[in-house]
C-alpha cells in the first residue's frame, strides 16, 4: 500500500519548529509541499533494501527503501518516509530523485554535500542531508546483505 503523498503540516513542527520559522530555500519548500516517492515497499522482498536511520540530536526518523533489478543492479523504484523537519523531508525526497535509475555503485557514491548544496541548507541543517546519505547507504547495505544471503543458498 502506498501512503498518500500529502504530508500533515505537523511534520514542520516538532523538534525543528524553531528553525522552521527561518526562511527555507524555495527548493526545500517545493520538496516539502510536494515530496517525491513517499511511501513504502515490501521490506521482506529479496529485491528490496531498507535503510532506517535516525538523528539522535533532534529525534527525526527516516526510512528509505530501494527496489533493485537483480540482474543489472539498477535501482528501479524508491520510496521514503520521514518524520522530522522540512529540511529532513526535503533531503530524503531529493535523494530518492537522485538514486532512481542509478546503479547501486553510483548511488553509493552520493554525498551529503551534494544534497545540502542543492537545497542550500544552512550549517545547522547539514545533519539532515547526512541523514539522507546514511539512509541510502543503509538501504544499499541491506539489499547487498540480502543478496549475499540468497546467492549463498
Amino acid at each position: 500500500m502506498l501512503t498518500s503523498t500529502v504530508f500533515k503540516p505537523s511534520v514542520l513542527k516538532g523538534p525543528g519548529m524553531m528553525l522552521a520559522r527561518r526562511a527555507y530555500h524555495p527548493r526545500v519548500i517545493e520538496h516539502y509541499t510536494r515530496p517525491r516517492n513517499v511511501g513504502s515497499l515490501d521490506r521482506h522482498s529479496p529485491s528490496v533494501g531498507t535503510g532506517l536511520v535516525g538523528a539522535p540530536a533532534c529525534g527525526d526518523v527516516m526510512r528509505l527503501q530501494i527496489q533493485v533489478d537483480d540482474r543489472t543492479g539498477v535501482i528501479e523504484n524508491v520510496k521514503f518516509k520521514t518524520f522530522g523537519c522540512g529540511s529532513a523531508i526535503a533531503s530524503s525526497s531529493y535523494v530518492t530523485e537522485l538514486v532512481k535509475g542509478k546503479r547501486l555503485d553510483e548511488a553509493a557514491r552520493i554525498k551529503n554535500t551534494e544534497i545540502a548544496a542543492h537545497l542550500s541548507l544552512p550549517p545547522v541543517k547539514l545533519h539532515c542531508s547526512m541523514l539522507a546519505e546514511d539512509a541510502i547507504k543503509a538501504a544499499i547495505a541491506d539489499y547487498r546483505a540480502k543478496r549475499a544471503a540468497t546467492v549463498l543458498k
Binding site: 516538532g14 519548529m17 535516525g54
Partner: protein, 186 residues
Amino acid sequence: MQRIQRLTTRRWLSNFYALFPKTFPNANPTFKIDQAKLRKEYRSLQAIVHPDVQEASSIDPTNAENLTSASLNKAYTTLKDPLKRSEYILKLKNFKLSPEALSNQSLLMEVMETHEILQNCDDKNEADQINEINSKRINQLIEKIDIAYKDNDFENAAKWTTELRYWKGIEAAIKDWQLEYLENQG
C-alpha cells in the same frame, strides 16, 4: 546599583549551574535537581537583571561575564527540562555515544511505527492511548537516566537520553495531532 553591578559581574560562567548558587552551591552538573528551588531562584534573579528593571546604562555589553536576562533565561530553560539538562551534562562531560548505540534498529523501528500509527489515526481515544503510553515511557526513561547518573554510568545515561529524544519527538507529534483535532472540531 552597586549591588546589581556586583551581582551581574561576579559570576564567571563556568556552566549554567553556576548561575544559580543557591540551588547549586558547588555548581556541580547534577541530573537530580530541586525544581521548585531552581524556579524560585530564577525568578528572584530575573527580577534583578530583567531589562525592565535594570537601567540600560548599568549593563556593560562588552563584558561577556555580565549576567543578562537572556543568558539567565537560556540557563533556566536548559536546566529545568530533563532532556535538555541531560544533554547539557553529557556535553559538559564531552561524552559521545557509540555509533552502534546511535543506530539502534529496534528503537528506530518502534519510533517509526508509532509515528505512522499516529499519522493514520483519526480517533481521539486512540491518540489519547498513544499519549498515555508515551508519557509513561518518558517518565520511566527519566528515572533510568537519573539512576545512571547516580552510578556515574555515562554510557547508559547517554543511551537513555538518546531514546528520550526520540520519544519527545513523538510527544511533539501527539501535541500537533491534538491541535489539529481541535481545529477540525471547531
